[in-house]
Amino acid sequence: SELGPPGWREPLDCVRASELCNQNSQCSSRYRIMRQCLSGGDRERSAMLASKECQGALEVLQDSPLYDCRCKRGMKKELQCLQNYWSIHMGLTEGEEFYETSPYEPIHFSEEFRHASIISDPSLSKMSPCSEAGKPCNPCLDAAKACNLNETCKRLRSAYNSICSKALPPQPSLANQEPCSRKRCQKALRQFFERVPWELSYPLLFCSCPDQACAERRRHTIVPSCSHQERHKPNCLELRHTCRSDALCRSRLADFHMNCQMTPHTVTSCPRDNYHGCLMSYVGLIGSDVTPNYSDSSPSNITIGLWCSCRSAGSQERQCDAFHRDFTHNSCLKNAIQSFGYGSEGGTLAATEPSSTFLPPARPPIISKPAPPLHGDAIKPMDSACMFSTCANLQDGGQKCVPSDEFECEEALLVQGSIDSQD
């Protein structure tokens, strides 16, 4: 049943979509039913959703603008928009999807982002000692200097720093008392990244580091001891559950999964090679229950992680590992950080080169073996299979391929002649 004038269906933001729905009696009544269907806990929700009434409500709502509405980052009433989005999409996906569709509008790779690597910004490149050989080089310190010289950046950085580094006096009566007021700290961090232009905030987070001191400064940027570290590491799935019970956190996590999901057959292994989108959704997680951070201060090898573990995950250990590996072993995220950071390594990403979708930086990020150009033979088979061939007339005693933990073995040397004759 068509619920609005023809052409009503171009994607709206979910606040507008819900207003339109509420102006239509049929839609608004189904919308109310839908919210009741989702009000119970996980267990009752599945049963409720299977009920005739809820299924009927969903049928109607799928034809309303609420079905494919989206939200914009930093829009007015962003939280209400996200709540409206989940109020219907939690019904569509019945809850526990590993990857959920992001409520945010897709992030398009902005040319301005690619050109604006630190070296091409005159006011900063003059600041960056890295461009001068022999001088001590600390891009993270340069980023802090640049921030301190900008009023908004300085004010908001000082605001979150003073909140996050203000220790709460110990109170013996409280069992596992927080070292600081985490919620206020997280809110201040979110405000910093929402209101400070990315040209000043991203370099603080994604600066590339030649040494440990620089990497230690980078790791401390978001005051980890207060913003996300707790005395006992929670289980990663528990962290995800806490996040998904908050509309904002759930949206930012879905956005991260969507924009940083490792995608084969791309150079950066990011969806559509849009590493800006990955960085943006990574930053969107900072100040939420699932705040990611550098897990150590090694300058060269970037390792990102969450403050959680998969111990005592029982049979869900695999799912727990898989969730955490999207942060710890994410080549798209790693490439995105290195691509942004190396922009500050002086001269590697010359903005003036003939434009092409993406210029690989000087030190190639960790890329899965470049996939062959796409033509008839679309997808290469398992990259990790070992292949041994012997002549058909010999004994069938090909060499053995001993399985190892990480089963990566270089392709065995093929018996010359016997295979080549085939091509």
């Binding site: 600390n138 310190l141 802090a144 200097k145 301190n148 010289l149 300085k154 004010r155 950085r157 000082s158 605001a159 720093n161 003073s162 996050c164 580094s165 001191a213 230690e216 400064r217 790791r219 401390h220 940027t221 005051v223």
Partner: protein
């Protein structure tokens, strides 16, 4: 050259250069007050200048007095936080002037 009136000035320097004892290479835009407050003097100041030169000594008084308003901050910028060279956060209050006055 006529002395400039009391006004806000700024200078970019590292936190270590502030001389407060913190060891950090982060930079800060230090705003300070400098300049003359001649136009804001009162009869009181003229009397104090005269008394300081002779009057007090005649009466056996050793009080030191100010003989004119000072160019001072009338408001300070918000707290300034930074990471020191050992990656620890510090916050400094009332270090940079926001407005000046006599």
């Amino acid at each position: 050259r006529r002395p400039k009136p009391c006004s806000l000035r700024e200078l970019e320097l590292t936190v270590s250069e502030l001389g407060l004892g913190y060891d950090s290479d982060e930079t800060v835009m230090l705003r300070y007050c400098s300049g003359k407050c001649a136009a804001q003097r009162h009869n009181y100041d003229i009397a104090m200048q005269h008394m300081a030169r002779a009057g007090f000594r005649k009466r056996g008084r050793k009080d030191k007095v100010s003989n004119g308003p000072c160019c001072r901050p009338t408001a300070f910028e918000k707290d300034f936080s930074f990471l020191d060279n050992r990656s620890r956060y510090h916050t400094i209050h009332n270090v940079s002037a926001k407005h000046c006055g006599c």
